[in-house]
């Protein structure tokens, strides 16, 4: 393994082997020192400002209170875990006793239904956002390719895209809710209706950047490459697969990244209104709850939402880098 490719570790490694000490220290300050001091200044300003804001639920939470709430959320999650374990142990013991008395006795195994913890909510949110995003991508990429290939199709579809693109998720949600409850009628629903409402709202809002960018990517296929395809007499499908798709992948991924960012933002709003378990519902419930801890807990959620969003984007970036053929472009 090449130690020079370790990135963050590189300057420390060089410092240790005594290579250009001054330069390495400079790099370390830039890479670690500056972001850290930015963070520190932010925390100070936050603490200072928070102590001057008094709400009906008490003082606005500063970094310390927020951290305390994070710890308390963790403790609650642990307590819930203990309860769940106790429930399963009791159930097992009860069933064993039953079987001892009568080996043919019917035993019941039930799932533990506790209140979802904060960390469960993060997981639920991630599942919903990925479901909406993946479904949207499956729809948007082919549409983008088709309108990118045909200027007539583009002219027909473009006005619709331009009109629907700026629509707020909050406007879609009531319509989605009504349609889902009318259309999705099942005695044994595989999906929760609130989940479907949130997912479809996310889908409707994150279609557009992928469509637009994929179409723009398809338009980057040069006349030269089209000529090559014609001289080779490639079929339409081979042309799309071998020339159009690889050529439009960089732009397509730009669109997918924007879409995932929008999806995550929209999801929080959708969960609040659709009452779908997740971070949005957590924020809403805390707001309705109105205890003195609520603002601190919402602040925890705000930070977690930000961090999860950041990691989603990094994930897409890594994916983009791995499928991109043009290694000369710096992706960031």
């Amino acid at each position: 393994m090449n130690p020079l490719k370790w990135g963050l570790i590189e300057p420390f490694y060089k410092l240790a082997i005594g290579e250009d000490r001054r330069g390495q220290l400079n790099t370390i300050v830039k890479m670690i020192g500056l972001p850290l001091s930015g963070l520190l200044i932010f925390l100070l300003v936050w603490q200072g400002a928070a102590s001057h804001i008094n709400t009906s639920l008490g003082q606005f939470p500063g970094p310390v209170q927020t951290y305390e709430q994070f710890i308390s959320l963790q403790e609650e999650a642990e307590a819930e875990e203990v309860k769940a374990q106790a429930f399963y142990e009791r159930q097992e013991a009860r069933n064993e006793r039953k079987l001892e008395k009568n080996p043919d006795a019917e035993i019941k195994v039930r799932e533990y239904v506790g209140s979802p913890t904060f960390f469960d909510q993060i997981g639920r949110s991630l599942v919903t956002v990925m479901a909406g995003f993946i479904l949207a991508s499956i729809i948007a990429v082919p549409i983008g390719i088709i309108i990118g290939l045909s200027s007539n199709a583009y002219a027909a579809v473009n006005p619709l895209i331009q009109i629907f693109k700026p629509v707020s998720p909050l406007a879609w949600l009531p319509l989605v809710t009504m349609v889902v409850s009318a259309v999705y009628v099942s005695d044994d629903p595989a999906f929760d209706k609130a989940f479907l409402n949130s997912m479809f709202t996310v889908l409707l809002c994150c279609l557009w950047p992928t469509i637009i960018n994929t179409a723009a990517g398809v338009a980057t296929v040069t006349q030269d490459l089209k000529n090559v395809s014609q001289v080779l007499s490639l079929s339409w499908w081979t042309h799309v697969r071998k020339i159009v798709l690889p050529c439009s992948i960089p732009m397509m991924f730009t669109g997918l990244r924007i879409s995932l960012g929008i999806a995550w933002m929209v999801l929080i709003a959708a969960e609040m209104l659709a009452q779908n378990p997740g971070l949005g519902k957590f924020v809403w419930d805390e707001f309705q709850n109105g205890s003195s801890d609520s603002l601190g807990r919402i602040m925890v959620a705000v930070i977690v939402i930000g961090i999860v969003g950041f990691f989603l984007d990094r994930g897409m970036l890594i994916l983009q880098k791995s499928v991109s053929w043009d290694k000369s472009v710096t992706l960031r």
Binding site: D224, N227, V228, Q230, V231, L232, S233, L234, T238, W325
Partner: protein, 264 residues
């Protein structure tokens, strides 16, 4: 009436513009025999590339037509392979994969996987690219890219190879190397070639006939010069050859006296 391999008969083309149709070419007549090497030379903008694109089938002639072995040309096809001016390799594929795309398309049913592999490698070897066949276009030089472009065209086993200023973007030394390679390949495979060039020396060195075009608009063939020099030709030996220099000055005279380009 004996049929030629490739016949271009009364070809003319008009392009629609907002100000009405623009006539680019008129009355192009040319008969080319199997194995002949033809150069098209003329000032820029005279419609050399348009002639090539019509033969390739990328443009449709407004009047007249092109016959290849008695069949009319009306769409592009791999039997008329094109070597493009700026190589036009797919940047995400290696040299091998670029040639493979063509071979897969042309020999879909007639060659087995092993035969295809051998054929791809054979063609890359022909252009001296076998050492770098798994490199991508951005990892090789301009001359090497053009070599891969030629290998891709050769691998289609075309009846006519159309070359659109294939060495135009290269430096003089690289160009000389590639010209030598092309002569070698031509000797081995005896392909029919139509090549566009700006370079008088290149035209005389490589061609059996040089087709000189008048200036546009409504350009046509001005003169055709038959180059009667024995193959293989050696650029060093020819440098002082009086016949060679005679042909050379013929072409220069056409370009700079009879068809002097008036710059506006």
């Amino acid at each position: 009436m004996s049929e030629s391999h490739l016949e271009i008969t009364n070809v003319g083309i008009e392009f629609p513009t907002p100000k009405g149709p623009f006539r680019a070419l008129r009355d192009i007549n040319l008969k080319i025999e199997q194995g002949e090497f033809i150069s098209l030379i003329g000032h820029s903008g005279c419609g050399k590339s348009t002639v090539l694109n019509i033969v390739a089938g990328l443009y449709g002639a407004t009047e007249g037509g092109v016959l290849l072995d008695g069949r009319e040309v009306n769409a592009p096809g791999p039997e008329r392979a094109v070597v493009f001016q700026n190589h036009s390799l797919l940047p995400w594929l290696s040299a091998y994969e670029n040639v493979e795309l063509a071979v897969d398309q042309v020999f879909k049913k007639t060659k087995s996987a092993a035969e295809k592999k051998e054929w791809i490698e054979y063609n890359l070897k022909l252009v001296h690219m076998d050492h770098a066949m798994h490199k991508r276009p951005d990892e090789i030089s301009g001359g090497m890219k053009q070599r891969v472009g030629i290998a891709r065209a050769l691998a289609m086993q075309p009846e006519v190879m159309l070359m659109d200023e294939p060495f135009g973007a290269l430096d003089a030394l690289t160009r000389a190397h590639l010209q030598d390679s092309l002569m070698e390949i031509q000797k081995e495979l005896n392909n029919t070639v139509i090549m566009i060039t700006h370079d008088v020396d290149e035209a005389v060195l490589l061609s059996d006939r040089i087709v000189m075009m008048t200036n546009g608009p409504a350009a046509t063939i001005g003169e055709i010069l038959k180059v009667d020099l024995p193959h293989p030709r050696d650029r060093l030996a020819l440098a002082d050859d009086p016949t060679y220099n005679h042909y050379r000055s013929e072409v220069l005279r056409f370009l700079y006296e009879k068809q002097r380009k008036v710059e506006h």
